[in-house]
Symmetry: C2
Subunit: 325 residues, 2 copies
Amino acid sequence: MAVYTDVAEGELGAFLKHYPVGDLLSYKGIAEGTENSNFLLHTSTGSYILTLYEKRVEKADLPFFLGLMGHLANKGVSCPLPVTAHDGSVIGTLAGRPAVIITFLEGLSLRRPTATHCAEVGKALAALHLAGADFSMTRPNALAIEGWRKLWTAARGRADEVEPGLAAEVDADFADFERNWPKGLPEGIIHADLFPDNVFFLGEKLSGLIDFYFACNDLYAYDVATCLNAWCFEKDFSFNLTKGKALLAGYQSVRPLSDQEKAALPILARGSALRFMLTRLYDWLTVPDGGLVMKRDPTEYIRRMRFHRAIKSASEYGLAEYGVS
Amino acid sequence: MAVYTDVAEGELGAFLKHYPVGDLLSYKGIAEGTENSNFLLHTSTGSYILTLYEKRVEKADLPFFLGLMGHLANKGVSCPLPVTAHDGSVIGTLAGRPAVIITFLEGLSLRRPTATHCAEVGKALAALHLAGADFSMTRPNALAIEGWRKLWTAARGRADEVEPGLAAEVDADFADFERNWPKGLPEGIIHADLFPDNVFFLGEKLSGLIDFYFACNDLYAYDVATCLNAWCFEKDFSFNLTKGKALLAGYQSVRPLSDQEKAALPILARGSALRFMLTRLYDWLTVPDGGLVMKRDPTEYIRRMRFHRAIKSASEYGLAEYGVS
């Protein structure tokens, strides 16, 4: 939520000459993204986002992220399209940092999405999974079980400061996941962070998906489970079954889930809740207060972990025609 | 340089229904202004700036600032036009704060303005002075000598920490200004803060003047003197005579300065340099490091004060046909 790097008009003008974006009319540093510096540009051909990548983004992963956005946009997914420079490159250098121009998507991210919005998100997620199937690059999920384990090792000693009993609770989850984490489910490109912040709407119509910087190869159903966590819980941590139904029906209208995927949803949702709890917990315990990174409460995800632990069947998420086992 | 207040899409949408701006397409918090929270809005009718006034702005002064912008814009000055709500009001309430929508001006503020840009600024400043002449409201300059004295009283004790000898130097200036500050020169509405940050260009053409939150009634020539300080010094603190000439010729092509105004320029420029030195010094000594207010080096203006003290005649600023006294 900050512009880290300042860019002078002269150097930006020189940089833009390498791209087919027309003449620069204005640019404003925008309070978006915690990892990068972002600017909204107006040019004679439209609006663009200029991103300067700060050190928290792995530069080696940029070709994957940008290639994926280009691939998805060309397949009709409403996501930003990286602009290719006249010399064919996508990643340039500005203010000493890797810099990229992407098309600007109009739309609003919603604080209070409705079931109708959840259905749209489900459809868009499935469309993203299908569109990514023939993307040629791969990237392992750095925040799969092994990555969680690293965060947990760093945070475990102080976990009970945040919530008494948390250390034992999470240890038990890890033991369970190491035995029972699903194998052999359909996998491919997932967004991995499709929270309301990263989805734009114009009215009830989804107008864009953004922020592909966690995208990776992993189980499609894990991405669905993350969306259940991100979209279907109310502020009081209750699960909104209507939203769950809408999201899952939307997804399945584009890509039906197999019985194995359905059966795996509760453990995947629990793992996904643990993943977001762990990154929040880690930041909570290690990032100084008042810094540029906004610290978010890990306990919101402890509540979700507990909810999912009590789920007996994926039908409780609102899966249509899925029998209670 | 920060967004202080976050605004949810739902409350913004409800707020905008009161204004004739069309449908909201997107909004981004922008890193602009140190006093307020600013958002760049795209709507179906164009681009706008939404400003939420935080506590550093005197709310009682808002009708003056906004009325002035409306007055000037209607007289053809390229400045933001406050949008009037359907009920005739200009100042609304959003997120518990006074909130205003103004039209967005395209343009770039320049780090390295040329003499051509300085001529444009001179012309625009004079046009602003003429356009403001029949504005019906008045606002005293809170940062005239009395205001400087308050800042100095607060900062004087530690002034020599910043520059040895500064306390004695500034005391002598105050004594001089109290005897010799010009009286009876033409006065009216001045911008009072027309720095490169607050002027937009598209190529060599001036496209907009912004940030009227220091505007007040004072001597026109004082505003000219501030522009000499703001536009005509190089990074090494040398005065660029070509830029000075261009700025003054530009100004005089629209509003000629009287001989009394010309003769007063050196003391006005010295006073203006003291004014910016004092606000910077005050922040330097009182604002904690790492806060949201960017602290700027007061010594840049000590250098300007000294330059102006050595000026024998306003011709040294580049005034055409003005004899050395």
